[in-house]
C-alpha cells in the first residue's frame, strides 16, 4: 500500500467481508462500510441498497481528512473516532491503522456504546488482515501483472 497502488486480492476481500458481517450482527447495525482514506469503498455489509455507497465513501474520507486537519491544528495526531447523531440514524466513523475508515450506520436498535465496543474488536481483526495485504504486496513483483501488462492499445480501447 505504500507503493503507487493498493491491491486488494479476493482472499483479503473475503476476510474483510466476514469481519464486516460479524460487526454488523454483533453491533445490531443497519450497514457497515470499509473505506480507504482516499475515498474508495473496499467492502460493505448490510442494507447497502438504500445508500449511494460511492458518495458515502468519498464524503467519509473527506470528513476524516477535515477532522484530521483540525486535530493537527490543536496539536493532536488525529481524531480517531467520529460520531454523528441524527434523528433516526447515527453514524460512527473510526480510523483503522491510520489507513482505513470503518463506518457503522445504526438506529435505535443499537447504541453508541455497543457500536464502539464492537468496532474496537473488529478494528483489531481488520488491522491483522491489512498486515496480510501488505505481506502479499511485498511477496509479489507487482500486482499479478494485470496492470503491468496493460498496453497503450488497451488504454485506447476505452475511448473508442
Amino acid at each position: 500500500m505504500d507503493q503507487g497502488h493498493f491491491i486488494l486480492h479476493v482472499k483479503e476481500f473475503n476476510e474483510f467481508q466476514s469481519v464486516l458481517k460479524k460487526l454488523l450482527a454483533d453491533s445490531h447495525a443497519k450497514v457497515v462500510f470499509l473505506v480507504d482514506k482516499n475515498g474508495s469503498l473496499l467492502s460493505s455489509a448490510g442494507e447497502t441498497a438504500d445508500f449511494d455507497t460511492t458518495s458515502l465513501a468519498s464524503l467519509a474520507a473527506g470528513n476524516i481528512a477535515a477532522t484530521g486537519g483540525l486535530a493537527t491544528l490543536i496539536g493532536e495526531k488525529e481524531f480517531s473516532i467520529l460520531f454523528h447523531e441524527g434523528e433516526r440514524d447515527n453514524m460512527h466513523l473510526s480510523v483503522v491503522e491510520n489507513r482505513l475508515i470503518l463506518v457503522v450506520i445504526f438506529d435505535q436498535r443499537s447504541s453508541v456504546g455497543l457500536v464502539r465496543l464492537r468496532v474496537r474488536r473488529a478494528s483489531e481483526d481488520l488491522a491483522r488482515i491489512l498486515k496480510s495485504v501488505d505481506e502479499t504486496a511485498r511477496g509479489e513483483e507487482e500486482g499479478e501483472g494485470v496492470i503491468e501488462e496493460l498496453t497503450e492499445a488497451d488504454i485506447e480501447t476505452l475511448f473508442k
Binding site: 497502488h5 480507504d36 460511492t54 477535515a66 496492470i147 496493460l150 480501447t157
Partner: protein
C-alpha cells in the same frame, strides 16, 4: 494512490482539478456530469458555499469501461480555488493519481494562475509527490472571452513548465472538457502501468 480490487475486478483512480478561484474547475465537472451517460457516472457532490463557491470539494465518480476484464473508475475531485482554502486543497491532493491544472486565460488572472501552479507544486511536495512526475494536463479555459485573453503560446511559456499535454477550453459549453479528461485518464493509466511513483 490507485486502488485495484481483484474481487470486484475494478481499478479506481483519483483525478484532481486544480487551479485559481473561478477558473472553471467545477464547471468542468458539471459539464461531464451533464453529458455523460447516467449509467457511466454517479451523483455529483458539491460542498459549496451559499454563493456556489467551492468550500471543500466537488466529487464526481465516472466509469470508463473495461480493460482486460477490469472496470475502470475515476473519482474526479475539484479543490477550492480561493487562496485561503489552502488547508483543504492539501487534504484533497492526498492519494491523487493525476492532476488537471485549469488555468484562466484572461490576462488579469495570469498572476493567479502562476500563484496557483506554485501552490500545487508546494502542496504536492508536502504530500510526498514529485511535482515533476505526477501525471499532469493543462487546460486553458475561458477561450471564448473576447478581450484581454492571453495567447496559447503565452500561457504555455508561463505555465507549461513540464511541456505536458495542453488544451484550449470553454468549460461552460464543453469545448475541450472531454479532451482534457481523456488525456489525463490516459496519462494516469500509463503511469499506473509503470508502477506509480
Amino acid at each position: 494512490m490507485s486502488f485495484i480490487n481483484y474481487s470486484s475486478r475494478e481499478i479506481n483512480c483519483k483525478i484532481v482539478y486544480y487551479g485559481p478561484g473561478l477558473c472553471g474547475k467545477t464547471t468542468n465537472l458539471q459539464y461531464i456530469f451533464k453529458r455523460m451517460n447516467p449509467e457511466s457516472r454517479g451523483k455529483m457532490i458539491s460542498l459549496a458555499t451559499e454563493t456556489e463557491r467551492t468550500l471543500f470539494f466537488d466529487f464526481l465518480p465516472v466509469s470508463m469501461g473495461e480493460i482486460r476484464g477490469f472496470k475502470t473508475r475515476f473519482h474526479l475531485y475539484t479543490v477550492p480555488g480561493q487562496v485561503f482554502y489552502d488547508a483543504s486543497r492539501r487534504l484533497i491532493l492526498r492519494g491523487v493519481d493525476g492532476v488537471v491544472f485549469c488555468a484562466d486565460s484572461q490576462l488579469t488572472r495570469m498572476d493567479a494562475n502562476v500563484e496557483s501552479l506554485e501552490n500545487l507544486k508546494i502542496n504536492m511536495k508536502e504530500q510526498g509527490y514529485d511535482p515533476d512526475r505526477v501525471p499532469l494536463v493543462l487546460q486553458y479555459n475561458k477561450r471564448d472571452v473576447k478581450d484581454g485573453v492571453a495567447s496559447v503560446s503565452e500561457l504555455h511559456a508561463l505555465l507549461n513548465y513540464r511541456n505536458v499535454p495542453e488544451f484550449e477550453a470553454v468549460a461552460t459549453t464543453g469545448v475541450g472538457v472531454f479532451e482534457t479528461l481523456k488525456a489525463i485518464i490516459k496519462m494516469v493509466l500509463i503511469d499506473l502501468k509503470k508502477g506509480g511513483r
